[in-house]
Symmetry: C2
DNA sequence: CGCTGGATTGAGTCCGGTCAAGCCTTGTGG
DNA sequence: CCACAAGGCTTGACCGGACTCAATCCAGCG
């Protein structure tokens, strides 16, 4: 899941998208695509970050995933998007029509790359499912921080999303997320340089928590 | 998600698996494959039913999915299974080595079929995610019954799994599942002919509940 | 330097979990 | 064919963790 773990096929697809695609810029909270929009574009995040989400009729919201620079959005969808995508922040993406990609570089190579992207997406969602199904609030927050940490080297974690975004990703409320983070600070599992920048000072304690074992 | 909605590519793959595969019989609760087993086989459920699940260190269990006759298990996995699979009941599956499938009918047709199966799997997991992230106990149970109902025609729903299985699928306890079902009976949303056979007598009420809107 | 909106903290409530009885179905053996 | 045992399911009483409501804090920004 770290950048350097991307299989070759997808890395080369990313390069292809960069070459063929159109660069688009989105402001914070701006919609990149809506639920039930046609899903004929593939997106590569260049800078910033993206959330995909579904909104329920009564205002409840579930965030399905976050996407960071270097990651692809889109191939998981069928003809129509099943989730909406929004920029977390000032964000640049490169978009390319799937048919264009196919015309220029179609064939088994492309199919395999798209399948790999879909497969990785599936694995992520399955891990997310475990967190939502069987973990306590503290375990969820710990899992979340560790997942973010895995995407950047070192113990420094950048958390570009709001507490509300985290809550809607983890199936919690902002208050519960905030309490979790405060508790981790108190126990010195983490230290904060700002509300969105942490340092994981008790990595193993967090890992124990996230894995769902009882901690001392 | 109903049988007749299966895209052609996957239906033809199912036929291929049936022709090339080996028929295996499993007793109730018997393991079909373990987590971290090599994932080089594709399974087609012929009769019975299968659950895939992950077990945590402290005994907590999350069921990822249920599979019924006509459905494929396996293509979602990488080199190694990330979940274990067990028979819900006396179950027959046909298993075929992916390399065999590839040798006999390799090529873009097969790749596309596997990708489609992966994609449908992803969609299912994403819907499951919404249920776990943002729904109340009653909403979860309603969603579950409706998902099962969608797989067979008519209002009759067969629920072959135990209450414990349902609980571990929905992120609840058996008691809460049982209370939910009892409440639905009381309100006459469902009627039961046995503990594992229901009739959806209040379909629209269940749908309203499951969709997450406030009900009267 | 004050304003604004996100984040934190506190108090109280409630939904779902826990613990504990019973019930009912299924299967088995007399 | 019935008696009984075993295990899954249901129901009840109580508890606790996460939610709700509300007040404050604080960082970023004009």
């Amino acid at each position: 899941m770290a950048y350097d773990a991307h299989p070759p096929a997808e890395t080369s697809m990313a390069k292809l998208v960069l070459r063929l695609g159109v660069k688009l810029r989105f402001a914070k909270d701006q919609e990149i695509f809506a639920q039930s929009d046609a899903a004929d574009l593939l997106y590569l995040v260049v800078s910033g970050a993206v959330r995909t989400m579904r909104l329920f009729g009564d205002g409840r919201r579930q965030i399905a995933a976050f996407y960071f620079p270097g990651e692809l959005i889109g191939p998981e969808a069928g003809a129509v998007h099943r989730f909406a995508a929004e920029a977390l922040d000032e964000t640049v993406v490169v978009a390319v029509r799937l048919s264009t990609l196919d015309a220029v570089a179609g064939g088994p190579e492309l199919e395999r790359a798209i399948w790999q992207a879909t497969r990785r997406e599936l694995e992520r969602v399955q891990e997310h499912l475990l967190v939502l199904g069987r973990k306590s609030a503290a375990e969820r927050v710990a899992s979340f921080l560790l997942t973010l940490a895995r995407r950047t080297p070192g113990l420094h974690v950048s958390v570009p999303m709001s507490r509300q975004d985290i809550a809607d990703y983890l199936g919690l409320t902002i208050e519960t997320v905030s309490r979790g983070i405060s508790e981790f600070k108190r126990r010195q599992y983490i230290s904060a340089t700002s509300t969105h920048q942490f340092r994981l000072t008790g990595l193993s304690a967090l890992q124990t928590l996230a894995s769902g074992e009882a901690a001392a």
